[in-house]
Amino acid sequence: MNAVTAVDASDVLVSVRGLEVHFPVRGEGIRKKGAGVLRAVDGVDLDILRGETLGLVGESGCGKSTLGNAVLRLIPPTGGSIDFAGTDVTSVGGKGLRELRRRAGMVFQDPFASLDPRRTVAQTVSEPLEVHGLRSGKRERAARVGELLELVGLDPAVAGRYPHEFSGGQRQRVGIARALAGEPDFLVCDEAIASLDVSVQAQVLNLLRRLQKQLGLTLLFISHDLSAVRHISDRIAVMYLGRIVEIGPASAVGSDPQMPYTQALLSAVPVPHPALERQRQRVVLRGDVPSPAAVPSGCRFRTRCPYVFEPCDDVDPALQPAGAPGQLAACHLHGVVGTPVERTPEGVPAEP
């Protein structure tokens, strides 16, 4: 487990340890309680380094958005700890929470839903300024809003307009301007380009990259789009069923994945070259992602893994070094490391 902390602690901006977000599952009818838990995020260890872009990929429902929301405390974590810039923010409230939300912003997936339709662009973008008292006086705030709009490539003259007067790409720029208004160090981009047209996706992706360099931001870029993540990220983390199963430098994870799940994900990305595309070897996974309400014992990928063998259902694999330097994978193919599954006398895996 300590393999994750292999870096110098002073470089770490966000540090997540054993983070769990479990949702109670309500039963039908009278049996409302005790129907089980949905393990959306189930024991995630993650360090995000200052100034880097960390791409977080995974299938729908693997918990990547929940993880992103939990880091900003928008969804209360049920276990584990979150450190932001050296401060434990797992359960801060009031001032501490407000400060966390100033220093950490979020860009949302759907730019049509994330802007209040009854507030002008200027009102939306200046909300963080008002909340945190960053600019006193209307004129100063208006000037700052103009700067922010310019920063994200919008004409400051549009500040008095309502969101419905804008295109998806423009709205997403407004959303980014709002996220930047508090002068944050850290930005969570939760599927920030997923609902945009392909041509606009590239623009917004490049905007995020430019902003990251210009403002020295740390980005957590959550997406299911592997090529976008490879384009923007310094490191990539792969999530499966509430766990991080592989993490490492973008070049290494993107070209030489060490975990069968990542291999399958990568093999599904089309290659923009006819000859290469025909040669492409596809690893096709069997079945569907198991329900996060019934996580398999041992390795949670074993039900779909083409290389499944002896220890996979007995030992819950931990992240271990594999492949390139800095690359970690949770897979027994690189040596059996992890927590053995406790079993009841009948041989049935006990509830973890």
Binding site: R118, A157, R210
Partner: protein
């Protein structure tokens, strides 16, 4: 400030030039046109709602300046002019005591409308507050508040009003309070339902993500977005409150004779319906017209407050 030339904004912005010469000047935090003026403008484009608003305005003006407009006092009895049919000297006729019906209808407007506005104002404030808290905080807050509302709802409206009046005694003020209490659960429910929808919107989470407090989220984001059904409900409730005042006065619990009130006049004229139809007809028409106009205004407001309709209609009906 920027390292590379910025890409131009994706497309020309829709609605450019629509705003009749209000070309965007320097960055301001306020929209170019105040929202209420825009709403009024949109309302004016809807002929039904426009007519209803004008008629309502007339009724309100009549009610406010009732002493000026009424040709005679409310209780000027003239034994020689009893039960006169409508004529030039008494356009609405006279009642069994020779009082001018027109004057009494005008003077009754202020009583009926005052009770209506007071009652709905009370229900609006109390119900919206309860609905906001119940819808936003959920859990036990929701359970407690809404069960109390359900209890109020379980009483038949008029029965509850009668109970309130029985405790506090008849009179205009108590009538308003009684009707207000009866309508509070309706506003609470409408608000709560609306808030439940708005609460889950991404922009609410976005606002929370930049550190906004609950109070700020409630007042700046949830209430404005949850408001349209509440505004429509206000207009429709005004109609029902006028009716309820009439009903309570008809039953002898609201406005007390000899004060004029439409419901009371209806009750008094009931006995003469075959002999002198104008006694009940004109107050009845006044109730009908007011209620109809409030309802039509409510419909018009619902359309005008829809942000999607806004651009469509502001763009000259493209």
């Amino acid at each position: 400030m920027t390292g590379q030339p910025l890409p131009p904004p994706d497309a020309p912005i829709a609605g450019q030039g629509d705003a009749k010469g209000t070309s965007p000047g320097p960055t301001t935090l306020r929209p170019a046109r105040p929202r209420w003026r825009e709403t009024l403008g949109l309302l004016a484009r809807n002929p039904t709602a426009a007519v209803a608003s004008v008629v309502l305005l007339l009724i309100v003006v009549l009610a406010v300046f009732d002493d000026t407009f009424a040709p005679e006092g409310a209780n000027e009895i003239s034994v020689t002019d009893r039960l006169q049919s409508p004529s030039w000297s008494h356009p609405f006729g006279t009642d069994d005591l020779g009082r001018d019906i027109l004057s009494r209808v005008i003077l009754g407007a202020s009583v009926s409308l005052k009770v209506g506005f007071l009652a709905v104002g009370f229900a609006l404030v109390a119900g919206t507050l309860i609905g906001l808290l119940a819808g936003y905080y959920g859990r036990w807050v929701d359970d407690v508040l809404m069960r109390v509302m359900d209890m109020l709802f379980a009483f038949p409206a008029v029965l509850l009003a009668i109970a309130v009046l029985a405790v506090r005694g008849p009179g205009s003020g108590n009538t308003a309070l009684a009707i207000g209490i009866v309508y509070t659960p309706i506003f609470a429910r409408v608000t709560r339902a609306s808030v439940l929808g708005v609460r889950e919107e991404v922009y609410v989470r976005a606002s929370r993500s930049v550190g906004a407090s609950d109070w700020r989220i409630l007042t700046r984001h949830i209430l404005p977005n949850a408001a349209p059904p509440i505004i429509v409900q206000t207009s429709i409730s005004l109609a029902f409150a006028v009716l309820a005042e009439a009903a309570l006065s008809f039953l002898g619990l609201g406005t007390q004779p000899p004060n004029p009130s439409w419901g009371l006049m209806l009750a008094e004229g009931r006995g003469y319906i075959e002999l002198a139809w104008w006694l009940a007809f004109f107050p009845g028409m006044a109730i009908f017209l007011t209620v109809l106009c409030f309802n039509l205004l409510g419909d018009g407001l619902r359309d005008a407050l829809d942000p999607r309709q806004r651009t469509l209609m502001a763009g000259g009906g493209r």
